[in-house]
Symmetry: C2
Subunit: 218 residues, 2 copies
């Protein structure tokens, strides 16, 4: 009856891809890649399914776009942050961990690790891309920082790559847990407090033994 003057849709060529990526990220993280229906992505992005195919070639291409769009800028920001700072390694690590949770931890991007890990078997190329562009880069820059700390005598001697893994593991685990089993866990889980504790234990465990008189007795 009276719907002729109401616009049914608008042309928004510029905004569509970002909105679709946001909707897809949410659903991929929530339900996994396979279980996510493109109709639902379209609905959440406020378009029809056909529109998805104007901007992305396939469901898999959309998946790749989600990862590439959201991850690469994040990594670059992190690397810059590390290169900019100069001071005690322990302090920088502490700051990095906390900053990471503030910027990434509570945003939607935080669901990516779970998504990538879940789908790695079905998307080998994507897994390889993620390892190279994210994991490897982050691990390398952290390892460099650890090495610096060892060189200055701040940290005890150890393999910087394993140390980097051990610094990152509880962080990534927190991100994964938050987007998987935490909702079913009765125990409270304050990530900020958890990370503070992690830093406390980790950095104390890493410092060179206090060289008072006799160094270490192990």
């Amino acid at each position: 009856m009276a719907q002729t003057d109401e616009q049914r849709w608008q042309r928004r060529k510029a905004e569509r891809p970002g909105e679709i990526i946001d909707a897809a990220l949410e659903l991929f993280v929530e339900k996994g890649f396979m279980a996510t229906r493109l109709d639902e992505v379209a609905q959440r992005a406020g378009v029809s399914k056909g529109t998805l195919y104007l901007y992305f070639d396939s469901k898999e291409a959309l998946f790749r776009a989600v990862v590439e769009t959201l991850v690469v800028p994040e990594i670059e920001r992190t690397e810059q942050l590390i290169d900019a700072y100069e001071g005690p390694a322990a302090e920088l690590i502490s700051q990095l961990v906390k900053q990471w949770w503030q910027t990434v931890g509570e945003s939607r991007v935080c669901g990516l690790p779970k998504l990538i890990i879940s789908e790695s078997g079905n998307f080998p190329e994507l897994a390889r891309f993620y390892v190279e562009q994210v994991i490897d880069r982050v691990r390398r820059v952290i390892a460099k920082l650890i090495k610096r700390g060892i060189a200055t005598g701040e940290f005890k001697s150890c393999d910087p790559v394993y140390i980097a893994r051990l610094l990152l593991a509880p962080m990534v685990f927190a991100a994964i847990y938050q987007h998987s089993l935490l909702p079913y866990d009765s125990e409270p889980f304050e990530v900020a407090a958890y990370l503070d504790t992690h830093l406390d234990i980790f950095l104390h465990g890493l410092v060179a033994p206090v060289a008072e008189s006799g160094a270490a007795e192990t």
Copy 2:
């Protein structure tokens, strides 16, 4: 022509469920629940698809059976191990971590955490079951151990539950990583060495400050 005396199949009522569960675990871990085809499970188990339905009501029921069959005995073994031992908490922790990797880490069960985490969104009841029957129990028994260590003055004062999480996080992460991104990672990853480093850092970070004159100053 000459195939009449060759048996096409055998009756093996007792062995079937276990073989099907094994095949399903492998494929679920490798490809995820949704992407796993029951035809392929059947093929790998050496039966036809119809046979699956003689032993399991549905694909989901098979999933539950995989988890329940493989997880519960493992947990009980762990709890018994902890209750049996009496000595310095640090030593027990160290032994537990190493033993865990020897028994669980290299077996197929090790793929379960990835599987559960991946599918938690689609199977809330299963996620809840896993949290209650695995995560919570393990965390509780570790926290108890930590508390014991604090009471005896072996460890410094801190929240035992977060400490338990932090002990477990790198272990679980290793298990997950091994079944997801490790195959795409160029960096070598010796889990045994990684866990040794973890124990080294973690236990050093956790010990009470060497009470030389004034005891604790927190």
